[in-house]
Point group: C2
Chain length 389, copies 2
Amino acid sequence: MVGVDTDEHRVALIRQGRMPFHYPEIEDWLASCVKRGSLTASVSAAESIQSSDVVVLTVGTPPGGQYQLEYSQLHAALKEIVSADLHNKALVVRSTAAPGTLRDIVLPMLIDSTGLRPEIDFALAACPERILEGQAHRELYELPEIIGGIGPISNMIATELFKKISPEKRIFTTTPTGAELAKLFTNIHRYVNFALANEFAIWAEAYNENAREIIGVANEGYPRSRIPQPGFAGGPCLAKDGFLLDNGTTFSSIVSVAWKLNEGIPQHVVAVLLRELGTLYGKRVAVLGLAFKADSDDVRLSPSQKLIEILRAYGATTLVHDPNVTGTLPLHDVLNEPDAVILATRHSAFRSLAEEIDRSGCRVVYDVWGMFANAKFSTAKYVEFGSRR
Amino acid sequence: MVGVDTDEHRVALIRQGRMPFHYPEIEDWLASCVKRGSLTASVSAAESIQSSDVVVLTVGTPPGGQYQLEYSQLHAALKEIVSADLHNKALVVRSTAAPGTLRDIVLPMLIDSTGLRPEIDFALAACPERILEGQAHRELYELPEIIGGIGPISNMIATELFKKISPEKRIFTTTPTGAELAKLFTNIHRYVNFALANEFAIWAEAYNENAREIIGVANEGYPRSRIPQPGFAGGPCLAKDGFLLDNGTTFSSIVSVAWKLNEGIPQHVVAVLLRELGTLYGKRVAVLGLAFKADSDDVRLSPSQKLIEILRAYGATTLVHDPNVTGTLPLHDVLNEPDAVILATRHSAFRSLAEEIDRSGCRVVYDVWGMFANAKFSTAKYVEFGSRR
């Protein structure tokens, strides 16, 4: 098996058996795979494709600057595949894509540039990834796969491929567009429920009540209630998938409102800091956490990053610490006389920091995740997202 | 125990041990309670209150004509309680109410009109009902209660009351407004998820795919996916609770969009019928189901009723059959040469009707719930909500 990437540094790390990102659970496993030769890495797509029977496409599909489809990575990869020869190969598209991408973009491009016959000369299937970041080592074995092949032969080959991960793995087959929609429905369902939790937090603040407590008792022992707790919702998957879904029409409703609401939470945090501090101009604001996800180092489309940019626009000096993200400041430096401290990412390492934050002498502690709800702050005012003033 | 209602017919039925609405599961239980004297009914509130230690208020809080708070039933009940003397009694408000109702409406009214001291002369608690219609006989024992008393004594008395139903019943105490919010969060969470499923159905139609199939595979074996299936969402609880929540501010977002979307589905059905039949003017449309809920007879704020009104506005003749709702037509009459048949309520009795509908010779069968997805229609075109054209 060969992993292909355009990033030479990343490829070099993998070849040395070292993880190119924060994922301690699979470090040993990677090293042993590379050592026994079952996995290698390459920057040469053409060569790697030529030597393979199955090509799994996992390129990113980030939104463009105006949230339009931005498929340059996809097109670049398809060109590599076409020039390396697709004959007698199977292509599995693992990326999250707009509905119709396989049917209306990938398939016509492949037929037109190769002259090959689908299902006869090559196989093609959409099978979007659904694992949780940081849980691949468990969920790749446990989660069912949804396969949308362009025909029965493609479905059969893709099924065989995923059964190699585990023979017990459940496989569902549907249409290519059905598989693409299933992935988007899954992510958007989660994202909208996070947005709703954030809406509840805003209501709780308006009524001077505590959203976390209320959601807790509403869920407890009640079979029809699975309301998530409020907090930042963003990242490279959830925040953009609504735009992939509504790519096909001009109509949009709950999905776009959910996006607007989740994207508004960083501004909401700034509004509360303004209320507490009067102005942010020249103030020192410590931000704990830059990754979008607890215990991850992934900063793509992170609400924390957006928060920092807004704080800077208001003239604040931001001091950012994230134990997983290189290039951020040490904890000691960001707690050096800040006016405010914001707990922005739910990293487990932050759970024990309440006392240290208290000693920093800051005036406000803003807690997006309610991690310090039971801590005592001697000088600082503690403000929890979705709670009483 | 005495049940009080302003409806003399309803009270007369209860006194005879007969259910005043469709609820076969508790008919025998009601009859035996009345027979052994543990339950009676009365139209005299004053008398009933005077002879009781605890008063449980279950009046309706339907929205007003402009979706404003409409608390005439609540005010009428409070007047009865005040005039009957509240001294040494406990009042438990079981109705779903806007956040702040107990604190800002009920409590000041009681203090002002009685001169009594809360927590000393009377107890008061919000404890909103959360059972599913038709499941009270099971859920009253199983579901936890959320009690928001105006103080510790009120919490204690309300707790004791609900422990009488079952000593194992779990009780959570919070603030009065917290209890009101918990109920609204629960219902709105469900309602928004129904709206999202309906949005997915609209998308699936746009991409010419089947929402029910896609949601099925998205949920199957996937721990983070609990997407409901699409269909009508309405009724006296879910459809109005968003308006109770946003009563306190002018801000609104996901909740109001979800309402708009769910309320738009009947019009969507009419649009599809127009596409299939050209015009609805003078057409005969059979509507199966008037209740908002499967196997219930409750027609309050039913989307089916809204659908019928829209059909009539377009000049169609509507033929309505609901086995649980008196005053509707027999099945045989509504299937007498209709142009279209709409399956509007998911009553279990409808499951076996496909053949009979087919024999009616109608041109279109519109299935809001996908109940006939596996049936064959020889002449009629079958259209399922959220599916292919």
